[in-house]
């Protein structure tokens, strides 16, 4: 099939960008979206143009590197998938596709469709861990039983891939889904309890510092999240935050 692409091109963080039109022929419905961009880039290189820059790595929906706002949706029209798992059979011959970077103040553009999501790393650094050193002498893994229900819920929260689709889909560019997924994972497990208060306070404060917006319970993040991270995590984080702020010194 033939497609018309409108792609955001931006030389660098401080350059101004614009949408540029491209035509691409002979797109197979079995191609992934990123393979379609590979083919476009091959064409651009052979014409002497600069290829379109975008983040990608594992191409199987788990590393969280790929992003892209496709026709106004993070990771495009599919549900429960990342851009690398989106296939061209989701589009028709003659379609026009708009491809933009994830847009948020806290995710500055690096080049073209590539953005800087290191704000997420800094949020994790502010408290997204259990403070336990490496040691061959930690207690036996089975010494502390965990309710299966809680272990499963912690796992579900922990499947977040840190892609930033929640931020990109939110009208407030809020990172609440991302932050609450990590807070929830630890708040559901006994290992996370000793630092629970400090964790939620520090992570929320870092989130604010990075320039992410607030949550107004629209729920777009949950819909667009490729891993189906639930809004319940935000509710849980709000409870944890309230508890911590009322009982901290």
């Amino acid at each position: 099939m033939k497609l018309n692409l409108k792609i955001w091109r931006q030389k660098g963080p401080n350059a101004s960008g614009k949408m540029v039109d491209y035509q691409i022929d002979e797109v197979s419905p079995d191609m992934s979206f990123l393979e379609m961009l590979d083919v476009l880039n091959e064409q651009l290189i052979s014409k002497g143009d600069e290829p379109v820059v975008f983040d990608h790595d594992c191409r199987e929906g788990i590393c969280g590197a790929c992003s892209l706002h496709i026709n106004g949706e993070p990771h495009g029209p599919g549900r429960g998938i990342t851009t690398c798992q989106l296939h061209m059979r989701s589009f028709k011959d003659g379609d026009t596709i708009y491809i933009e970077p994830f847009r948020a103040k806290a995710f500055p553009v690096v080049k073209d469709l590539m953005v800087d999501r290191s704000a997420f790393d800094r949020i994790i650094q502010s408290g997204g861990y259990v403070s336990v050193n490496t040691s061959g002498n930690t207690i036996d893994a089975n010494a502390t039983p965990v309710r299966k229900e809680n272990a499963d819920a912690a796992f579900d929260a922990a499947t977040c891939i840190g892609c930033g689709a929640c931020v990109a889909s939110c009208k407030n560019a809020s990172a609440m889904l991302f932050v609450s997924a990590k807070v929830s994972q630890f708040s559901l497990l006994p290992q996370g309890q000793p630092e629970a208060k400090e964790r939620v306070m520090n992570m929320v404060s870092q989130m604010d510092e990075e320039g992410f917006g607030n949550c107004t319970n629209t729920g777009a993040c949950e819909v667009e999240c490729p891993k189906g991270i639930s809004l319940e995590n935000i509710a849980r984080m709000n409870r944890e935050y309230l508890k911590a702020s009322l009982t901290s010194k």
């Binding site: 197979s28 929906g61 590393c63 893994a141 499963d152 840190g162």
Partner: protein, 666 residues
């Protein structure tokens, strides 16, 4: 050159304890004066960087991704082995050791493998303490599953995302040290060279991928945890960015490359669908527990299927060839990875393959659906002869076991595996070979270490399922932190390593020249153009089956293509900006040299063992035949500009605790 593997004295089970008790230590005050560089932030790199920082060393960690959390360990699905014996099924350190040695077809070092099995239990304790949400049973204790043909259940897992959960655990530990300032993290940085001063590894040259700036970083020791080199085949299950460059640069600076031809080809991957294909997707090995693998018995049927005139579901049982069950009645569909892969290739090469390309076989769940359905109907007191009901119930059971994998398959292929058999084909997945290291994980270059998939150490000629995660974390959490201190204890009075020495000048200049050459090249063809051709040569001649003629051809074809690459490659853009084409070009240039060395290694190893199958070395029935008399050694190669003329250094393998046996799965 003579290699010293530095295996400690004493009985196998006491070696590691003895060694830990006798290595030199570095006092806390002195650790603060010592710098360590860690390249790569997968399981091995992130766990090593975090642990070394906790101990007090100043660590600089590098990854080419935008965040350390994206390293390719994250994509591992199935699980992690550990000899916990929670299931009381007779597992022990010795059994895990034995299974690993046997699975590796007796081409790994006993002492290293025993240590791996010994620390495996600590890994699980450590990860649980970090809040890794492993699967649990209703009683609240950890669940296990069985994997890859072994006779015990020792695999810990977190659904089909074990690698992700373990990596995020290590990433959390790393993040904590970054926050403390004990690790300086360099994201979007690629190691371009390792710097050797007075014979010791003393730093690296790195390129900031955002600005293009070439930087100097010094340290008292350098740890490479940069993963495997499966992308030499272009198509593999590796991430797009996975590469050999860090390891290859070390090789060029004197580190030996061991067993490079030992590659693992995983039998259950989604087949190639077209020329535009950029990577292959693995479907977990666990599917072979219930799926039956087959191709049509008659060639006409295979041809009709390829032409789209016949559907697999239209073929009756007696028209199908369940070739694994036929050839290996004892293990059937659960033979090890290398055996299953070769058998699929054999059928497809003989013209029985399905899919448009003829390069696929069926993995069929119909009989599992029926079996589970009947069982459910019986348990619920329903009519076992109601076919519709049985299939409905059976599908529910299969969905609860493999639902996420079926969904993934459907997303990629648009076929529903509940209704029609899956199509699968083998793909490159893991590389057992890597930098040669001694018992301390140090390469033959003093101060240069290699951990995880980047080294050759533990899996011999074939890796067992769920053992890659185990090795990565064992190296990073529990081995390196001990062994590196022994070396660094000699550096407490050295002081900061300057970066203005002639060695750094020289290394940086070489990097700059290489970049300039690539960017300034007036070629006409893209990097991928060359990479795809290299991949094809490797796949056809150094893939699942190898022979002398093919390998010799491959060596000359690769050399010719490499020459053309340097003349004809076109790298758009400049060196002083984010330039993914330049990154690719630098990596592919190294793959060209590695590919040739792999063929050389495969050519010289005239036996079949594990993932390395030489067509000249097989039994009358066509099974792989090892040659213990002549090839019980590690092939370590010293760098040569013409890789096929590299010098071979042998490390003889001594087996004092296990008896060498022929693997049989009949």
């Amino acid at each position: 050159m003579k290699l010293d593997s530095k295996i400690p004295e004493g009985p196998l089970k006491d070696k590691w304890t003895y060694h830990k008790n006798n290595v030199n230590l570095v006092s806390p005050a002195n650790k603060r004066q010592i710098d360590v560089i860690v390249v790569g932030t997968g399981l091995a790199g992130a766990s090593a960087a975090a642990s070394l920082a906790e101990m007090g060393y100043n660590v600089s960690a590098f990854c080419f991704q935008d965040s350390p959390r994206r390293a390719h360990s994250i994509a591992a699905q199935g699980g992690i082995n550990a000899a916990k014996n929670y299931q009381n099924d007779g597992d022990s350190t010795y059994r895990l050791f034995y299974d690993t040695i046997k699975g590796g077809d007796y081409r790994a070092r006993e002492a290293n493998v025993y240590r791996l099995a010994e620390v495996s239990a600590n890994i699980i304790d450590q990860c649980v303490a970090q809040g890794v949400p492993f699967a649990r049973e209703y009683g609240g204790l950890l669940d296990n599953r069985s994997f890859g043909g072994v006779q015990v259940s020792r695999t810990f897992y977190a659904k089909g995302q074990t690698g992700q959960q373990l990596l995020l655990g290590a990433y959390s530990a790393l993040s904590r040290q970054i926050a403390k300032g004990k690790v300086k993290m360099y994201n979007r940085h690629e190691m371009m060279d390792v710097v050797i001063v007075d014979g010791k590894a003393r730093g690296i040259i790195a390129r900031n991928l955002v600005t293009g700036e070439v930087e100097r970083h010094s340290a008292h020791a350098v740890v490479l945890a940069s993963g495997g080199y499966g992308n030499v085949f272009f198509l593999s299950t590796n991430a797009m960015g996975s590469n050999v460059s860090a390891a290859w640069k070390a090789h060029k600076r004197g580190a030996l490359m061991a067993n490079p031809c030992f590659t693992q080809i995983h039998p259950t991957c989604i087949p190639v669908s077209g020329d535009y294909q950029s990577k292959l997707t693995l479907m977990s090995e666990s599917l072979r527990n219930d799926g039956r693998i087959w191709v049509p018995k008659k060639k006409e049927d295979a041809e009709a299927i390829r032409a789209g005139k016949l559907k697999p579901t239209q073929l009756a049982e007696e028209e199908r060839d369940y070739y694994l069950e036929r050839r290996y009645p004892a293990f059937g569909n659960l033979v090890p990875r290398d055996v299953a892969s070769r058998a699929a290739k054999e059928r497809c090469d003989a013209g029985f393959g399905v899919n448009k390309t003829g390069q696929a076989v069926y993995l069929d769940f119909a009989s599992a659906i029926e079996r589970y359905g009947k069982e459910q109907a019986h348990m619920k007191g329903l009519n076992e002869n109601d076919k519709e009901l049985v299939i409905k119930l059976g599908k529910e059971v299969v969905a609860s076991k493999y639902g996420n994998l079926f969904q993934m398959y459907e997303k990629i292929t648009d076929d529903n595996p509940y209704e029609t058999p899956m199509m699968i084909y083998p793909a490159v997945h893991y590389t057992m070979g890597g930098l040669w290291v001694d018992y301390n994980l140090m390469t033959n270059v003093p101060g240069l270490y290699a951990a995880g998939e980047a080294n050759f150490s533990d899996h011999g000629a074939n890796r067992l399922g769920a053992s890659a995660l185990m090795q990565g974390l064992a190296d990073g959490y529990f081995v390196l932190p001990y062994t590196i201190g022994d070396y660094l204890s000699g550096d407490i009075r050295t002081g900061k390593i300057p970066t203005d020495s002639k060695e750094f000048d020289q290394a940086e200049k070489e990097v700059q020249d290489r970049i300039k050459k690539l960017v300034g090249n007036k070629g006409t063809k893209s990097v991928d153009h060359f990479h795809k051709q290299l991949g094809l040569i490797m796949w056809n001649k150094c893939g699942m089956a190898r022979n002398e003629k093919g390998l010799k051809e491959a060596i000359s074809e690769i050399a010719a293509l490499r020459e053309e690459f340097w003349k004809e490659v076109k790298v758009p853009g400049s060196a002083n900006e984010m330039n993914p084409e330049l990154e690719k070009a630098c990596r592919v240039a190294d793959f060209f040299e590695l590919g040739e060395l792999m063929c050389k290694d495969a050519l010289e190893r005239k036996e079949s063992c594990g993932g390395h199958f030489r067509e000249e070395s097989k039994t009358e029935e066509g099974e792989a035949m090892r040659d213990d008399e002549n090839f019980t050694f590690v092939s370590a190669w010293a760098y040569n500009e013409k890789p096929s003329e590299s010098e071979l250094v042998k490390e003889e393998l001594k087996f004092e605790n296990v008896e060498l046996k022929t693997r049989s799965y009949k």
